[in-house]
């Protein structure tokens, strides 16, 4: 039917002895891989436009500064960065440094709102694609928390902490054994980030339609609290992405490749299977 099945037949007839040459393990469904990578530009667009929207009316405010009239705590933080980070002392407009670097810029509300709606609808569509892929492959089961996860996740966390030291002292450092697709810490992180995706969509609607969907706004403690939820969920994504990228790169090419091609050559993690040809 597809090009790849056709190829399988062709190659199977040409060299039957090589057909079972390499044993690989299926890791990620095509739709899961697709939605995983699409999240990168979509989340980037949501964060950039979201902070521009935040600029228009910051959630965290204080009384107007007597000198500048500034009320925005993020602008204070921005000035702090410019004072304390070397190389930024001569920045033109310290209170806008954050907005100039991790948003579309200050005073861009109309543009930011349009980009935010575009990315938000794409994010919801992408979430649907992910749910579809997880349901079709049954991969969602690997993300569910287990009773032993808390203890195992802590073990894994300390194992990660010890890796740099072990590398420096040239000691072997074996991670705790696990027979599941993900270790407990991965599972917890992926589970939380999927839930956070759903909740950020819900809080987004609670802010966007506080009159027609007033019950949803009420669930999140009212309009202003829904904005606070939405703001901190953004930070949760950012705090997830940083160790996520570091750990994938540290884990090696096979792990990164598996999110592109869908399979992993590391079949040894499963029980009772010999990876040797």
């Amino acid at each position: 039917m597809t090009c790849s099945t056709h190829l399988v037949e062709v190659i199977a007839t040409r060299m039957p002895e090589e057909q079972t040459g390499v044993r690989v393990v299926r890791r990620h469904h095509l739709l899961v891989r697709f939605s995983h990578w699409l999240n990168v530009p979509i989340l980037l667009g949501l964060i950039l436009s979201g902070l521009s929207i935040y600029w228009a009316s910051p959630v965290y405010q204080h009384k107007p500064d007597p000198l500048t009239g500034n009320v925005d705590r993020l602008a204070d933080f921005s000035s702090w960065i410019c004072v304390h980070v070397p190389g930024l002392h001569h920045h033109d407009n310290p209170p806008d440094w954050v907005y100039n670097h991790i948003s579309l810029g200050p005073g861009m509300l109309a543009v930011a709102l349009r980009l935010h709606w575009l990315c938000a609808y794409l994010f919801m569509l992408n979430g649907f694609v992910f749910v579809l892929g997880s349901a079709m492959s049954g991969g969602w089961r690997s993300l569910l928390p287990r009773r032993t996860d808390l203890r195992d996740a802590l073990k894994m966390f300390f194992c990660y902490l010890g890796v740099p030291l072990a590398k420096l002292t040239h000691r072997s450092w074996l991670p705790p054994r696990f027979t599941t697709k993900y270790n407990a810490l991965q599972r917890a992180a992926y589970f939380v980030v999927v839930i956070a995706g759903f909740v950020s969509v819900l809080t987004g609607w609670a802010i966007h339609k506080p009159m027609q969907l007033y019950w949803l706004t009420w669930i999140f403690g009212g309009y202003d609290n829904a904005r606070i939820w939405h703001f901190w969920l953004m930070w949760l994504f950012i705090l997830f992405v940083v160790p996520h990228v570091i750990l994938v790169l540290a884990d090696g090419w096979d792990t990164l490749r598996s999110m592109i091609v869908g399979w992993s050559a590391r079949a040894g993690r499963s029980e009772g299977f010999n990876n040797e040809p």
Partner: protein, 301 residues
Amino acid sequence: MNREDEHSAPEANIKSPNESVSPQKPTSFFQERPPQMMGVAPQLLRRWTRRDLLLFGAGTIAAVAAGSALLPPTTLKRLGIIQENKDWPKKEWLLNKSLRIDDDVAEALYSKDRSVPTYTKSQITPLRNNYNGATPDPSYIPEWHLTLDGLASGLSVSLNIRNLLASFQVYEQITRLVCVEGWSAISGWAGLRFDDLLRVYPPMSQAKWVRLESSVNLGPWGNPDPYYVSLDLSTARHQQTLLATHLNGKPLTVEHGAPLRLIAPVKLGLKNIKAITRITYTKDEPEDYWAKRGYSRYDGI
């Protein structure tokens, strides 16, 4: 979790000769299934890898190109990606499309019969005057009158504030006004229902829209900067859409749109036009001050 004694179960659930499934039977619907192994020819595996890397690489390039094309020119200029503002002509299309989809969603969510939440007097919060233009001289108030156009009678009607307050019932409501910027305020409003005005002075039969004008707006330097909004008739007929004359029990001040302003809590604050001087019913969608400046046209919340 995995029970040792099940290792010897017959391999009955093998899907194809190429795919072997570990023999343990899952004990529950939620239990993780054993990994699926595949035997693949090395050549085929290389081909798959090459194909997928090329496809995902092409996707990345496309996403970066599309993403940076969608960013506003000032942002791109600041990042040093472009030197001068050269707008890609079709660039606005996708962003406008998503804005219209969002407007359609807002319109679908809207129901004329659904009331917005109301609050108690103790929940009232300060309301700021978010207008950055100059406040007009209150001398216009004694001369003020409201003109109605596009009526079924074909006539133009002029009403003063005394006419309005004498001939219509006054309703009170404590509702939240939500600004597009993200702040909101709970205030007590009193005035006549827009719906009542529509019943006494019915619009022409084909009318679907209302154009509201305020001619007393001034720009930051006192220059004329006329404000006007579009409103769909369905929202005008909502029971909580008021032509308000009072804020928190007192007549409206000039800052808040004396003597008559729109209070449509199902719309963003920018549709809640102050100091209305003219109401025109139209068949086609009228222009809107903020829609011309890149904001949504419908603004239903």
